[in-house]
């Protein structure tokens, strides 16, 4: 049959020669290879102390952003929840009261904003859908935990820390 590529390699199964049959040269070759690796620098990254650099488009934990004046950008439009293929996002909106202008940028804001991290697939569609540039997946990994309910992250974990603090 005509080979489709030139990568085909015919394996010869000749009986082993005497030098091959005493195995010792091959064993010493193997020992030399492992010894070479013995002196090589370990590739291990000791995780909690050292961290591997994340790629620039790595998508990690979500954070809800604030604007330049430290106000929450999210206006609870629900586009992120709508776009979410895993249905991980839920929110309850509320109207901004008088005197809360320094807290929320828009007139409507998310009183409750929850992401179920067990459902989230970190696709980044919420980030793309957001018209207010309020949500970004720029955090680290989601930490492990013991209970399922602890994986539902609320605003306390998601919202960025206030600016001047």
């Amino acid at each position: 049959m005509e080979p489709l590529s030139n990568k085909r390699k015919v394996i010869e199964s000749k009986p082993l020669s005497f030098m091959e049959r005493i195995y010792l040269p091959a064993i010493f070759k193997g020992l030399a290879i492992t010894m070479k690796h013995f002196f090589r620098k370990p590739v291990t990254i000791r995780y909690p102390e050292e961290k591997r650099e994340y790629s620039e488009n790595f998508r990690g934990l979500h954070s809800l952003k604030r604007d330049e004046q430290g106000r929450e950008r999210c206006t609870a439009c629900g586009l992120c929840a709508l776009s979410c293929p895993a249905e991980a996002i839920t929110m309850i909106s509320a109207e901004r009261q008088k005197g809360e202008e320094h807290l929320y940028r828009e007139e409507k804001y998310a009183a409750v904003y929850e992401i179920n991290m067990l459902r989230c697939i970190f696709c980044g569609l919420c980030e793309e859908a957001c018209p207010k540039e309020a949500i970004y997946l720029d955090g680290p990994h989601v930490a492990s935990d013991y209970l399922r309910k602890d994986f539902i992250y609320g605003k306390d974990k998601l919202v960025e820390a206030p600016l001047n603090q």
């Binding site: 064993i27 193997g30 020992l31 290879i33 492992t34 010894m35 690796h37 013995f38 090589r40 620098k41 370990p42 590739v43 291990t44 000791r46």
Partner: protein, 346 residues
């Protein structure tokens, strides 16, 4: 024999026992470290600096684990198995000459527990007993995998004992003695006349056969078929837990230590080292000799690990073929060659 002599002997026994246990403990650590280094990793490094306390943590874990004795197992033999395994591996150290005589305050201290005049045969006997621990444990577990592991261990040990004995016979023909101390003394220094004094240079083939058989007798990879996890779950210690499992693992490492010591003594000059005749203080020579012997033993232990992480496991029929069809004829040929050599060139 005075009281002090008896005390000294007792002290020596206790020290050797402790040393072999500590070495066995740290062999488990060394095994993981060597494996890691050979695979470009770091190995255990959390318990203490560089993970130095890891064996203590492992030992503590072993002690605290739940002790399980299967319902249908023969409880007495189930416990006797690991006890026998570790007992047999510990008594092998009795005839190893650890160094030359020390003279402290008029007391001559032999750095050897017992200079038996059949020392080599004693070692051989202990090695042949070693398989009972595995067999009894494997049978008493009442588990087919354990039984298969035990049976593999038995047939493997018996097969390789023959080649090992024949390779030692060739060595004994050149040394003319069965006492390990005499064999060690014959290899004094490194170079005498026009040839090396160490036996490995007069018996290279014998040493090769001996070390291969040592791998098989200690059930180390590439001959670790009795505990071959891809086929037999855990082999003969499938049903074991807690410190009884620890005893099996420990006895394997003590066996490695003893076989390293035997190989160093029989073939690599024991406590002798090059240029030892230029040091005039006998005590210094004795102490340096102990250090050198341990360096050789550690090298052999390292070699055991190095091979383990390099060569894949044999198939069972290949193992038997190698033992019966290759090593035994080779060692008989070695005896004939040695006989001819002794008759015509010595």
């Amino acid at each position: 024999m005075g009281l002090t002599d008896i005390l000294i002997k007792l002290g020596l026994i206790v020290i050797i026992f402790l040393i072999s246990l500590v070495i066995a403990m740290y062999s488990t650590y060394a095994e993981r470290k060597v494996a890691a280094f050979l695979q470009d990793r770091v190995g255990p490094d959390r318990a203490g600096p560089w993970g130095i306390l890891q064996p203590l943590a492992d030992g503590g874990k072993m002690f605290l684990k739940e002790e399980i004795i299967p319902t249908n197992a023969n409880a007495f033999l189930f416990i006797a198995g690991p006890s026998l395994a570790i007992l047999v591996s510990c008594i092998g150290t009795a005839v190893i000459p650890w160094g030359q005589q020390l003279v402290i305050g008029g007391h001559v201290i032999d750095l050897q527990v017992a200079d038996v005049n059949v020392g080599v045969l004693y070692i051989f006997g202990v090695v042949s007993l070693g398989v009972y621990g595995i067999m009894i444990g494997g049978w008493a577990s009442n588990n087919k995998y354990s039984l298969l592991g035990a049976i593999r261990a038995a047939s493997q040990n018996i097969s390789y004992e023959i080649a090992m004995g024949l390779s030692i016979i060739a060595l004994l023909m050149t040394t003319g003695t069965l006492s390990l101390r005499h064999i060690a003394e014959q290899q004094t220094g490194f170079w005498h006349g026009h040839w090396f004094t160490w036996n490995v240079f007069s018996q290279p083939l014998g040493f090769l056969i001996f070390i291969i058989c040592a791998f098989a007798e200690t059930n180390r990879s590439p001959f670790d078929l009795p505990e071959c996890e891809t086929e037999l779950v855990g082999g003969y210690h499938t049903e074991y837990s807690s410190m009884k499992l620890g005893f099996y693992l420990f006895s394997e490492y003590i066996n490695m230590f003893v076989s390293g010591a035997v190989m160093a003594t029989l073939y690599f000059g024991g406590y002798n080292f090059p240029l030892m005749h230029h040091i005039h203080s006998p005590n210094l020579v004795a102490i340096l000799g102990v250090v050198v012997l341990f360096a050789k033993i550690f090298f052999f232990i390292f070699f055991f690990m190095w091979v383990r992480w390099t060569i894949p496991r044999f198939r069972y029929d290949q193992l038997m073929d190698l033992g019966w069809k290759v090593l035994i004829p080779l060692s008989i040929a070695n005896i004939v060659i040695t006989g001819v050599w002794i008759t015509y060139f010595k």
